[in-house]
Amino acid sequence: MAYHSFLLEPISCHSWNKDRTQIALCPNNHDVHIYKKDGTKWTKIHELKEHNGQVTGIDWAPESNRIVTCGTDRNAYVWSLKGEVWKPTLVILRINRAARCVSWSPKENKFAVGSGSRLISICYFEQENDWWVCKHIKKPIRSTVLSLDWHPNNVLLAAGSCDFKCRVFSAYIKEVEEKPGPTVWGSKMPFGEVLFESGPSGVSGGAGEGAGGGWVHGVCFSHSGNRLAWTSHDSTVAIAEGGKTSTISSLSSETLPLLCVSFITENSLVAAGHDCYPVLFVYDGTKGSVTFGGKLDVPKQTSQRGISARERFQNLDRRATSSETTEQGLESLHKNSISQISVLEGGKSKCSTFCTTGMDGGMVTWDVKVHTHTLHTHTV
């Protein structure tokens, strides 16, 4: 585990390059800064200034080495490295509200932008006009799209939205790809088709009235694409398995809402949010249950010292308990909400390292092997 404090301001979003030596992040303003790793130090090597509003999403395509950014100025830019300089290309998204999240497809021939205009823009490059063109997925989204994740087949796209639903859409663009084969989510995939929708009116939920209660903050497909996990603002995490449309397993957790989630093996996922530490969840496919696997940020036990009578009364006055611990702040590494998780090594099937950034301007890289060993949980 390594904690690096980049800024004093929140990191709005981040993305890593292919070999994980450079990180592009937005320091809560209109720019994107690219930092390069030198041993244990990080030096800023580029500043990408083009947006007129806060940059809300960054994605770095590993193979083609292009960066796509989207912001509250309703624009997206695709950046290509020409020599030593990153040159932007404007993409007209035709939205009238801020863009919220962006993601390259696995084959990097298109990307999806979720926005506050209640639609998803799927953008692809048209060779004849030398221009990025976008198509909209509008129905049946009824509020801001907060998070996106692509299925490995490059066609299906999961979207979490503020209308309390998580959906899987088809983003099949016939100009850039072949017709996809059938998957567990369905076989007919015309553009814009909804193949799955969570929530009370779609598929029945697992844990009573837990389904459909809050904004869906983070979505993630598993490595195979057969499972979809999402976290919601009502402090639940849910997993749906494609094909068996009546099973959504959800867990109402005791923590504050989780903002981001990622699969680290086919059966387990790591999520983090307003509680400032990542947590592990384990999914049992045979029983269809999600269980809490443990906190991944186990702070070192500080020595217990005696507490004087004066401190006891002071605690009673300030915090209504005269408890032993007088910790002034959070014990976790992150001192504020974690807003994004990205897998560094191992992919989503055998993740060995992942990274979190948050509102405290810090970035932590976590090793998975160490923690699953100390937790004595499932075999990875």
Binding site: R118, R142, S143, D163, F164, G199, P200, S201, A207, G208, E209, G210, G212, G213, G214, H233, D234, S235, T236, S252, S253, E254, T255, L256, P257
Partner: protein, 153 residues
């Protein structure tokens, strides 16, 4: 100047109601949850003031009127549940909370917060004790679910 600049009648219109993109909740199953049975609970409380509080408690939490939009039904259910909650002894609260499952604790939390809205003579003290015990089991998540639930009790 135009005559109607003095008129402020337009200020009484709620313009958000006319917005065509206004979010409307999905309409689910209609009125099949009528709330707990008041008579049954009255009997239990009267006859066995100490022993069968647990049964009364469980009956009170059955059939929550979450799907109806009728405020009268909700008020009735709330009154019944609050009666049961306030007639509990402090020492019995913890086992009662432990006997509930996850969604039961969430439902209990919803009723507790509804009870906080209209404090009466001694309801706040006992409700706070209920809150403490329910929080120990449900954690912050159960309170978040009270805040974010679309179907209120």
């Amino acid at each position: 100047m135009a005559k109607n600049t003095l008129s402020s009648r337009f200020r009484k219109l709620d313009i958000d109601e006319f917005d065509e993109n206004k979010f409307v909740d999905d309409h689910d199953e209609p009125v099949d949850n009528q709330g707990p049975d008041g008579a049954e609970i009255d009997n239990l409380i009267r006859q066995y003031p100490l022993r069968d509080m647990m049964t009364a408690f469980h009956i009170a939490l059955r059939n929550p009127p979450v799907n109806t939009k009728n405020p009268a039904i909700k008020e009735r259910a709330l009154a019944i549940v609050l009666r049961v909650l306030t007639s509990f002894k402090s020492s019995d609260i913890e086992p009662a909370v432990k006997s509930l499952d996850r969604s039961g604790v969430d439902l209990l939390m919803k009723y507790i917060y509804r009870g906080f809205e209209k404090p009466s003579d001694n309801s706040s003290a006992i409700l706070l004790q209920w809150h403490e015990k329910a929080f120990a089991v449900g954690g912050l998540g159960s309170i978040v679910r009270v805040l974010t639930a679309r179907k209120t009790v």
